[in-house]
Chain length 620, copies 2
């Protein structure tokens, strides 16, 4: 028994066909579906494409799409069969035996299942003469055939061994999401396995848009959206399907992103999907999908530290801010220009040796099994970072996240014997003069092209679940916000990025990142920080006037928030209080947060106010 | 009688409130609607905002929005009235007397028109005590009130002088587009005029998306979309409305574009809209909207010339290509390093004095009245370009288009006495060795942020109509294409740009521009050009195989197209043939086109193939 064949449609990637094949091969795909428009635009002959694929270890799994074929009048049928013969010629030159035929969207198509079956049978007969096969797919917007059940019924009536089904998770699950009483994805498990010729996989967010636009512009790789893909894939495998898992993702952003990187993201999504399918499948399918499963994600206990890359000038200024915030300068790294600052359980490293601009350069997660975490990350194609520890130093594994942040794996609870032993301690007392207790979250700005890739990375590699999706109008354009957290809420990363790539007008690109620190008494913390000279961000009076009007809040509370420049959000019985420093070094600020009653969000409603305030502070 | 008051909602623009007010004032707006989120994020007190507006010549026409007020239980009503009093305080500090109340979207709102009317009457009574007024607006997605008819009925029942309607063209026309049997925009002409307190204007493309998303992300300024805005505005004026015309445009791109420029675009849209309304209105409304009307757009007779900016190296190479294409070097400019090349009626200038990279730097349109064209352009806020003609040179007026292209105005048919007299003629014979007859069109790449601005510019300033909108998947991302043409098809500009701003992967950014030349025999032209050494673009064989299969074309025709590397499109009984040179100077190429049977498009279906071929040619 061999592992699943992993395939992708060329339409997933940007570039010319040549670019796409190289990217898919480099990411370790076994096969490709060749999209007609990619082939038509390629200067390579079908034979050369075939040869190049073979040399790159890629099989040509399918050629697609063939549209508007069935249930038409005799003249159109004759023309369509001539058209098919030309495509069969091409497929033989390409070296693939499978043609995708989509259910017709033509006004010429009759609502006549027997006629459709008869025509598809004829097509299959022609194909079989050449050793080729036809995979019939119900488009979610097909004129008459728009559910997998309907396509399966037509294939059953046509009853030809060279005719089977192509199941596309997008079409099946989007239709089911719109009309759950009409179509049932779970039923695919009862299709005769030999009739499922091909399985295409795409995820997507749930959108209220027209299904054609949804399909053509907003598909995602598995694990990046909201579809129940593992369940669906398990059902198709349960039916007896033995072909490839093939990604078919039409996405406006991926269409213009560097294809090598997108192909890696795609491969990561398949590996993670197979792992999830393995948890749901049983019997031989379970074995196949788990053959190459990565080690399970170990439990995470928290963020051991966040590291800021700083230059000398900004490093010393940020160190002064940390001191004013009540952090103690606890240690100096034995071999590198790195300072450890600490208050309560919150640890921040200032790395003066960085070549990049001021930014959150690394986070360290506490894991029950650092080696398993690192192996899992590697199995999921996270680039492992080269590390050369000094003689007495801890051998921490680290990988690079899509946004460039380094992710370190530290053993839970072993700080004094582990990474902390790399620091010469200063002996500074660990007081808590501003009552900051620990890191609440780290907010990482995501480059426009890689937001969904980042979600999948943190989800798959660290086992964090996406939560609190929001999109809001900020002063300089729309912003997406999404958190990824472990089940216990001990590791929280807040990802944010622009909805559209920005031009030159918007200030502060790339957006600032921040480290958020928890307190149990925001008013006390804010007052203490102000008294100690922390450059706290000024919030407009208009915000507090609106808060009072909008939420009917106790005026005494509002007065206190206003005095301390604290922002406020609430959610049922939970409350969230937060205040911020000014932006330091052009790119980083600190936030102090208090959560009550289990508030699990990030105060996204206040983000535009905070952004405008940062802008005003920069202008001075 | 004074001209219409021109206003805009701050939500139309990017930036902080301070940025927005400055941009609106600089573009000549008379007033603004202040959006709550802009105010809440502003460090300026309401008094300071009021003062700044007054100093900038801006009235504060309205404060908005106030949501989910009416038809609720007594406790919520009491809370909502408290909330309103706080907003009334704010409005008095801001110096505005009008509050926008949107129809409720709350599940708490009852489907009870009398209750809604009673509550709104109470609110109006409270407002009236302070000299304030309430404008009630039906949101297209209101829970119960979602048509203007319904909101008008509730206002009628409430019957209070401080309660009137806000009519928003987006809500009215989007609802009518979705449900024409439910709501009729023309009926607004019958509302008692004194009951229309405010008119908000937005255009939009027709989209199949959910109306909330459509409204929040895809609105456009009047003249940029597909709504019948002049008709609607004329109907509101016919009702007796005397308030401002106020733009309220939620648009993802404008939210992040430089606000000064967007405000100018917005003002241009209002001036052009008033002109169009003037054609439909009569009586006093007609007088008001035409008070400041620009001169009518004179008839255009064609493109007199296209100018390419070139450096010395590329200039000489492009000159060699033009010579190979059969153009004669007809003249040299008297005072500038500019060459005139001509074949048939196609004239191309090579400007060796340009500081920019190789690009289409200017086009000249032949107009029946150059002075009127220039005055119209100025009235529509087109920046007039400084020109210092030499002693014996023609005083051509020129303005800058949004993409930086210079647009010259030449008198129709006066080339020998007009601009052509600026050239010392070489005496070269004007043969037509490759049978190119004239300029067919000029294709101008549009910067991402300014595509819709460009449409409006060419529409309003030159009187060209948008046609042939398309969006297609090109090798490096989605591309928009839209032509603007005069009614006779003698001036055709093809605008294209990316749907999303691109990142670093895509080659060829900014996209190439091109000049398209017409022929009556593409095969003869292509053969002649090839024989003369023109670097024609190679088209993949795969394209011709597909063409034959797809369109069931005569194999002899396909063989000829293949031999000449000509692309093909058809449309009913019309055909389009086109071939291309390679990209020259990094940014410019030439196209040769033949249209038969009145084909009016641009072969957009072939653009991805052409783009991939240009990419392959660059790679060599």
């Amino acid at each position: 028994m061999s592992r699943m064949t992993r395939s992708m449609a060329t339409v997933c990637l940007s570039g010319t066909l040549e670019d796409k094949l190289d990217a898919a091969a480099a990411a370790g795909f076994d096969g490709v579906e060749i999209f007609e428009s990619d082939l038509v635009s390629s200067p390579w002959s079908p034979e050369r494409i075939r040869e190049h694929c073979a040399e790159s270890g890629l099989s040509v799994e399918m050629y697609q799409p063939f549209r508007d074929f069935e249930a038409v009048g005799p003249e159109t049928l004759a023309r369509n069969l001539r058209r098919a013969e030309r495509k069969f010629d091409l497929m033989q030159r390409l070296g693939t035996d499978l043609l995708l035929v989509c259910s017709s969207t033509s006004p010429e198509a009759a609502a006549d299942d027997d006629l459709a079956a008869e025509h598809l049978r004829t097509l299959a007969e022609h194909a079989a003469e050449r050793g080729l096969r036809i995979a019939y797919e119900a488009l979610a917007w097909g004129r008459h055939v728009d559910t997998w059940e309907h396509s399966a019924e037509i294939v059953r009536r046509a009853d030809h061994p060279a005719l089977g089904l192509c199941l596309d998770s997008f079409h099946v699950l989007s239709r089911a999401q719109r009309d759950p009483e009409v179509t049932d994805p779970a039923g695919v498990a009862r299709i005769p396995g030999e009739k499922v010729f091909f399985l295409q996989l795409a995820d997507a967010p749930y959108l209220e848009t027209d299904v054609l636009q949804w399909s053509r512009h907003h598909r995602l790789f598995p694990g990046q959206g909201s579809f129940a893909l593992a369940e669906f894939t398990a059902a198709v495998l349960a039916a007896g399907y033995r072909g490839p898992l093939s990604l078919e993702v039409f996405n406006d952003v991926y269409r213009q992103a560097e294809p090598g990187r997108v192909a890696v993201d795609a491969m990561r999504s398949l590996i993670a999907l197979e792992e999830e399918v393995g948890r749901r499948a049983d019997g031989p399918e379970r074995e196949r999908v788990t053959l190459t499963a990565p080690p399970q994600a170990p439990e995470l206990a928290g963020i051991a530290f966040a590291e800021l890359a700083v230059d000398a000038e900004w490093g010393h200024r940020i160190a002064r801010v940390l001191a004013a915030m009540g952090f103690a300068h606890r240690g100096e790294h034995r071999s590198k220009p790195v300072q450890l600052w600490q208050q309560g359980d919150a640890r921040i490293l200032l790395n003066f040796g960085a070549e990049q601009d001021t930014a959150v350069s690394a986070i360290a997660v506490e894991t029950a099994d650092p080696e398993a975490s690192a192996l899992r990350a590697e199995a999921l194609l996270a680039p492992r970072l080269p590390r050369t520890p000094g003689p007495a130093e801890a051998d921490l594994s680290a990988v690079a996240a899509p946004d460039g942040t380094e992710v370190f794996f530290c053993r839970t609870g072993a700080d004094s014997t582990g990474w902390l032993s790399d620091f010469v301690l200063t002996g500074a007392a660990l007081d808590t003069p501003t009552a900051l207790t620990r890191l609440d979250h780290v907010a990482l700005a995501q480059p426009f092209d890689h937001f969904d890739e980042a979600t999948l990375f943190y989800r798959a590699v660290l086992g964090l679940a996406p939560r609190h999706d929001s999109e809001f109008a900020a002063p300089f354009g729309l912003v997406r916000h999404r958190a990824v957290t472990d089940p216990g809420g001990r590791v929280r990363l807040a990802l944010h990025g622009t909805v559209l790539r920005r031009g030159e007008w918007a200030p502060g690109v790339p957006d600032p990142q921040h480290v958020a620190l928890a307190t149990d008494d925001i008013i006390a913390s804010a007052r203490a920080m102000r008294a100690r000279g922390v450059p706290l961000l000024s919030i407009p009076d208009n915000y507090y006037d609106d808060l009072e009007a909008r939420l009917d809040l106790d005026p005494a509370l509002v007065a206190e928030l206003r005095e301390c420049q604290v922002l406020y959000d609430r959610d049922a019985d939970c409350e969230f209080f937060h205040c911020h420093t000014e932006v330091l070094g052009g790119r980083v600020f600190f936030e102090v947060v208090q959560r009550t009653g289990g508030y699990a969000g990030y105060g996204a409603v206040n983000a535009p106010v905070r952004m405008a305030a940062h802008r005003a502070a920069r202008r001075g």
